[in-house]
Amino acid sequence: MDDEIEFHVEERIREYIARGMSPAGARAAALERLGDLGAVRSECTQLLEEDRRAEARRDWFDDLRQDLRFGVRSAMHARVFSLLAIFTLALGIGANAAVFGVVKSVLLNALPYTDADRLVRVYARMEDASMERSSISAGVTVDLSERQHVFARIAPFFHGTLDVTYVGDAGPRIASAALVGPGFFQTLGVAAARGRALVDADAKTGAPNVALLSWPAWQREFGGNASAIGRSVRIDGDSYEIVGVLPRGFVGPMGAVDFWLPLDLGPALRDPIRARKQHWLGLIGRLTPGATPLAAQREVTRIGADIARDHPESQGGMALWTVPLRDDMVGDTRTPLLVLMASAGLVLVITCANLAGALLSRSLARRKEFAVRVALGAGRGRLVRQLLTESMVLALAGGAVGLGLAALCLTSLRQLTIPSLPAYADLSLDPGAVVFTSIVVLVTGLAFGLAPALSVGRGNTQGVLRDETRGTSEGRRTRRLRGVLVSGQIALCVSLLAGAGLLVRSLWAMATAPLGFDPDGVLTVSVQVPSHAYASPEARIRFFDQLEERLRGLPGVQSVATAGELPSPTMNRNGLSIEGVTWPAGEGQPFIAYASVSDDYFRAMRIPLREGRTFGPQDKAGATQAIVVSEGMARRYWPRGGAVGARIRVGPNESFPWAQVIGVVGDVRNDPARLQPDPMTYASSRQDAWGSRTLLLRTSSDPLALVKPVQRELAALDPSFAIHDAKTLRALMSDRLASRRLPVVLMIAFGGLALMLASAGVYAMFASMAAAREREFGVRVALGSSRAAIAGLVLRQGGVWMLVGLVAGAAGTVFVSRSISELLYAVRPFDPIALGSAAAILCLCAAAALLVPVRRATKADPIAVLR
């Protein structure tokens, strides 16, 4: 533009001079005619600038379209390469999307309550750390709600869920129910989706029986029909009116149940034993505006200390504490989830490194194509952009397939209904997860495309075009880049394998350590006795005696027993008193796991008797209560022996007469995830008759074949109630480990994937190295070099990078085992077997991967090469 104006002015000057003006005068006149030069120039510049921008935009989109078309075409051209790339990307991205889907629904999504951040759960804990998340007594909930100022609303509820017999259209079934105190739904800030929620008046003594349905139960039992509200249903023999339906997706802090029933604390509070000595309530509170969880923690702890001082007999050694409700419901899934997310991320990084290596080889093979394009006028930036577009095309395709895989994974995970995940987690790929995946896709495409893209266009175009034969050799830079990529893959792979190995070892330790009983060949069936028909303990005892007698007659049955509770991590616990022993004031009474069992329980479970005797017919109602304790318990409280014959009391009621220890049996591990057995106390089912019991049938054949006969016998005895949860004891124990197993299985899958990718990377590195030096090797062979010497040459060149990878992997392993140490049981973080086998597996796979290319290098034919 300046040239143009300058030309104009000069022409004008020439004209004026021709007309007879002096040069200086002519110049002044010419400039004057042009007017304000600056203004003209800036106006023109602006116009030009706008032009240029519009054009650049047009060009950019044109180029993009062209690049995309070209990218798709070149991907179609190298079909096998593209399919492999898309497949590995799909696995890497799919793994991330799926794990993120779980992480998001568990850790990030909102709880199904209003302002869930303001909700806090109150627990008790024993000062001696024997119980961390204990329920609290009715008295304490009242004391706490009277003395506290930090909560706007506070609500007690029965800490667990319970099984009830529900009589619907399809006959009697077992349903689940929760008992919630006044203000429960108001505290959570949840209103009914249909009808009304429970209100304080529903929990008043003498109020009519009402029940609230969960959304799934409403769909299942009433087909989602609005007429369900106002209907009356029979639950445990009582009639309840349905007053409302809770919103879809609502679950309580205790889990998901079918029926929500009001809980009246009145009777419990009037009974001095039940008010203070039974710890059976959970408590949630909503913080007052302005109060922080920390303030709540301080106040609750202080009040807890006050209560313990006021009621040392029931609260001694027990402290109150709070935890934000979300943290409580997320529970111990946080660490495994984060570990899995990190592992999935590592797999994706390995995928990127792997594809970067593969693209590097590919761009070497395409050097000629690039040289031609440069010769035809393509700039380096243009080439880089082209290659990045190509890798983006691959990443997008891989991402799309990966998203599909992730959706499939989550669907199957949903069907597994993993007990370890919080009940509110809905496990789906919502828009947030899709956005996350898209970002992952873009970053991935950039990550694996950048290095190869930058490596092109650096070479000497003319040389490449002229020299046909050397078109496939690689330069120093590329070789180093590839080496770094491979050693990175090896390092990450070793770390992942080591992590997986440690988890496998600890799962193995949990699964194989003796449980203390024999879970094989035993069928377990839960039986819920209707409390109305069998109100007295005698009726219940008679019923179970008859049932056991009938079942003993079934073919193949070796022994039959019943237990109030099977070994589980959440067993009922009772306070322990020992005659003549006062517990230290600071510690208070210990709480010991407790089960009421029938005479043959120890035989059916194959728990060995160590001392004294087990229960017999003489331990009947009215006789001195007999107690059997576990070895560990005997060792702890009677370290010098003499447990048998000792007088103790289990349970809250101090007016009960002393019970007597009649025998000592072997320890059992109630929680298969813990290697240390819990102390146990057992009472006879004749002296403590529970209405809800589990049948145990030991058989010499397949336990599940007994389900039908058991059902028949039960129906013959009393057709009015159903059985549920028929399972082998082995399966039941295995379920308890399911939550531990899932992260381990996924870690193994990730480790395997990483191993596959890293092996492919090692193979590619050696293959391209051998190919590049084929001519040289031919010459060496011709000059008398041995095959072994050539193999050594190749191995040395690649081996250095593998070694670097292993050393870096060792460092990564330290980091990995630190971060998963929380998930390890009975295995040291630096377990030599786990770490050694991880390294060995990797070296084995790498050796297998490098065998072919190294063999090919040694086969270099001197004659063909020299010719």
Partner: protein, 117 residues
């Protein structure tokens, strides 16, 4: 003449540029000179508005510019009409002629309006 502020005359400048280029490609200085010669120096092109007008017309796609050399071997940017420019030229010429003759007719009229009688 051809003040930048006047929209009417702005349009006139564009028409004159189109007319000039209808003879063949020419540079900015040549365009200005030709207009002056063709109007017997009655219309003097305000050079401050000529170049912005040329760029604006380039953006509208009426004319295009190419660097070339003059008879005395100097580099100059030559503008030429595009097909769109040619279409614009025909259209604007007839428009201008109707406008000018109408103004002319009014200015040259000898019939007094009724209110002046």
């Amino acid at each position: 003449m051809f003040a930048k502020e006047s929209g009417l005359l702005q349009g006139t400048l564009e028409l004159l540029v189109l007319k000039t280029l209808s003879w063949g490609p020419m540079h900015g200085y040549g365009i200005a000179s030709w207009i002056e010669t063709a109007t017997d120096d009655v219309l003097r092109v305000e050079e401050g508005s000529l170049y912005p007008a040329l760029y604006r017309m380039t953006r509208k796609g009426w004319i295009g510019g190419k660097w070339g050399t003059t008879e005395n071997n100097r580099r100059a940017k030559y503008y030429h009409l595009t097909s769109e420019g040619r279409r614009q030229f025909v259209e604007q010429t007839s428009g201008w002629q109707r406008f000018a003759s109408a103004v002319n007719q009014a200015v040259a009229s000898t019939r007094a309006p009724s209110w002046a009688r």
